[in-house]
Symmetry: C2
């Protein structure tokens, strides 16, 4: 999928919500439909669009009970998109995370870039030097995102096999990616009542130490 | 403007083309309209959408000739957007370049991130460490983009005051941001015939050394 298509897909809140759910749970149609506040017809349409654009892939899963196999969906790409828009710059790049994963060290030296500029040639030179630093930054971004992707996959598998609670995992997943969460945000994301969210956070707290202060929940890093 | 709105704006090729033109020239309506291959009604609609979303700002310019002042447009934001989509991660962030500009040095150490994982707690720890590195990477990205933005602004002003050719500048601008260009790409971007593009590139070559090899044009870095 090219970059422009991804902008189209992301330009819709329901599609973004569906993508969020798809990253933390195994998702079949009626589960996804229960998590967003539009009709199931609309959900079907959005899933169709994302399938057509190659972002989603449907799959079937044997669930060991009678009836037709359920249709599940999974995200089929692993990309980071970077776009800059200023009065002077407009560019976008699609970074394929599957090409990364070497976990290198990078020295980004921006202090050496000249602050005062002489003629046009020296400005062009400075721009190309800045491009070199940008290139390293984008490589580092690719590597760290490939790492976080792989680690999240392992963590999800481990959490489900050891503790087995999908909602606890969804809260942990949100906290890892967003740093912290309000009960309200989680209630909205998980489509659960606030006191149910708090109860689930307390359960999660038995396995991963949390700081729960009033409305705000975060991972208690000092206690890890 | 929030991130989601920007995805909507970027999800359309004509709007992306208009944004490209706006970053390298002073743009009034009929100029923009001549550069894209849709009707002027459609161009007006797209400009309206971007104005409504706060991306574009119209302004008037005294042109020292008789008649009403022409309406110009300029880009009104300076942001870098980063989005990751994988089967396990989905997040997006809007980085405001106006908050950057300190031009620091950054050491990104990904090699220290553990490859083997023990229990859930050690995986959570590793994820938070990766988050710390990601944070530095995004700060470096903000700084380098703020630098490139400011430098491009100066370079555009200098080129127009010293050499004064808008088309040469547009080619230089494209080469700086994209590294290299084919004559075909430039012909498409500038809405000019290929031999006109080549003639303009030859003119630019008198001020900024270029390598023009067959179809491909790039800045001749060794000769700077």
């Amino acid at each position: 999928m090219s970059e422009p298509d991804i902008f189209y897909v992301l330009g819709n809140k329901v599609r973004r919500d569906l993508l969020s759910h798809l990253t933390c749970s195994e998702c079949y149609f009626s589960f996804l439909s229960s998590k967003v506040s539009v009709s199931s017809t609309a959900v079907a349409k959005h899933l169709k669009i994302m399938e057509r654009e190659g972002i989603l892939e449907p799959y079937e899963k044997d669930e060991h009970f009678i009836g037709p196999a359920r249709k599940y969906y999974r995200i089929n790409i692993a990309n980071t998109y970077v776009t800059t828009i200023t009065p002077n710059l407009f560019w976008y790049e699609n970074i394929d995370l599957r090409e990364g994963g070497k976990k290198g060290d990078y020295e980004i030296n921006l202090s050496k870039l000249p602050e005062e500029h002489g003629d046009i040639i020296s400005m062009v030179k400075a721009f190309l030097e800045a491009n070199d630093e940008l290139k390293k930054i984008l490589e580092a971004l690719r590597d760290v995102e490939a790492y976080r992707d792989g680690l999240t996959k392992l963590l999800k598998e481990r959490y489900l096999s050891e503790i087995g609670d999908m909602t606890q995992l969804a809260i942990l997943h949100y906290l890892l990616i967003n740093g912290e969460a309000t009960v309200d945000e989680l209630s909205d994301r998980l489509n659960m009542k606030e006191r149910e969210v708090l109860a689930k956070a307390q359960e999660l707290n038995r396995f991963v130490p949390l700081k729960i202060k009033g409305e705000v929940i975060e991972i208690d890093r000092a206690s890890l």
